[in-house]
Symmetry: C2
């Protein structure tokens, strides 16, 4: 049975998140319905990461096994046609060995968090960024962020409903840059805990506002206590950019 790797872009706004939930519109559910419409049988689609409600993806990856063999491009075009009512694009389909697992074969996940640091309204980027009106010191945010790099117990930056067995993760990158009123936070790791990126970003905004020093951020990490976390950044600024294998 051929295994297919799908690279997927979506606007997270209308979805309850990646994962199937009863009576809710999920990205996974929309994809499974499109696959079933093409091949006439129910098929499980496995994603690399369970993005939360409202979180976007530029390059989510999923795999599925389909009894029928499709040329990759035909499967991509057919899935896109069936997905058209949804803001979901299947950007690429590849035929992969059956050892490929979207979730477990992933070597690195790359996320982007977009802040717009402006007192003005949002217009073209409504639903695409977190608007923070108070002036943020992006350099201070970047410097503080480096205190989170490496292998740590990230309990402070972990949703209380996170199901990972261990709170230990190795953070490879957490860069904060400003371009005009756009502040972009780029981060990568083999894997992240539930809400980890949004928890780190919200805490970095406290640093940018001058409410926290870099030492305060490091102390929050060391506390290994969810109550020590800053605000959790809202979902619409977060993008799963790429999954490396």
């Amino acid at each position: 049975m051929p295994r297919y790797k799908l690279t997927i872009e979506y606007d997270g706004a209308p979805f309850c998140g990646w994962q199937l939930q009863d009576n809710m519109l999920s990205v996974q559910g929309a994809l499974e319905a499109a696959v079933e419409a093409m091949c006439g049988e129910p098929v499980r689609v496995h994603g690399a990461g369970r993005t939360d409600a409202g979180v976007h993806a530029l390059g989510q990856v999923a795999h599925c096994d389909i009894a029928k063999a499709f040329p990759a491009d035909r499967l991509r075009d057919g899935l896109n046609a069936h997905l058209r009512p949804h803001p979901i694009a299947v950007r690429e389909v590849e035929i992969v060995p059956e050892t490929f697992e979207a979730r477990f074969s992933a070597k690195k996940r790359h996320y982007l968090y977009r802040i717009k640091n402006t007192r003005a309204n949002l217009a073209l980027d409504i639903g695409r960024v977190w608007r923070v009106p108070r002036r943020l010191d992006a350099e201070a945010m970047h410097a503080a962020a480096q205190r989170l790099i490496g292998k740590h117990d990230f309990t402070t930056f972990r949703d209380t409903e996170c199901q990972a067995k261990s709170p230990e993760k190795t953070l490879d990158q957490l860069d904060v840059t400003r371009e005009g009123d756009a502040i972009n936070i780029v981060t990568s790791a083999r894997s992240f805990l539930h809400s980890q990126v949004r928890s780190m970003v919200g805490s970095l905004v406290w640093v940018g506002e001058g409410r926290w020093s870099a030492d305060d951020l490091a102390a929050a990490l060391a506390a290994c206590n969810r109550a020590a976390c800053g605000v959790v950044a809202p979902p619409q600024g977060l993008y799963l950019v790429r999954v490396e294998y």
Copy 2:
């Protein structure tokens, strides 16, 4: 009476265009309502360019005279508050001499047209780009575009309802670049005819598809005949980026 210069971003989707129209939602109308709500009297807002229905702006410029003197930042914040139901952002307010005219003082207008050249669906850029599924040769488009640079009679690329007195315009820049599946067309001139950018872009897509050569494009220009134009590109890919004074 102080004169204010406004720099404005908007999502063109919900509007009948920049210009006031009876019983329609226009950007100009929304701005005038916001100014009136702040200063308690009807005020005319004059724009640098009349963007069509669905066309976006990153940096539209307008001016207005208000009897009451506001600090620039307070006017910006107040207008943004009153505009909040609309995807309109007043990015900057400046107090300018009364000789400043948003439309007539403009030295150069810069537009961007965004194409996404993909067979996949759109997701995050729905309403923000023109999706063209057939593979486009961006280098051929760029080379042909240079045939339009300079002073010409642009009747071929002019909407039949255009009210400009002369069809002569001087085109300063028309650059086509590709980055992955994004094709960006950047153009500037002191001013443009009605639908000129979209008419040039649609004709360039014919070049990119191999349907027209650069000579065909030059012949269309030389024909000075609206019927010689290629397809007119749809509005949602067009952005008024900046107006220079």
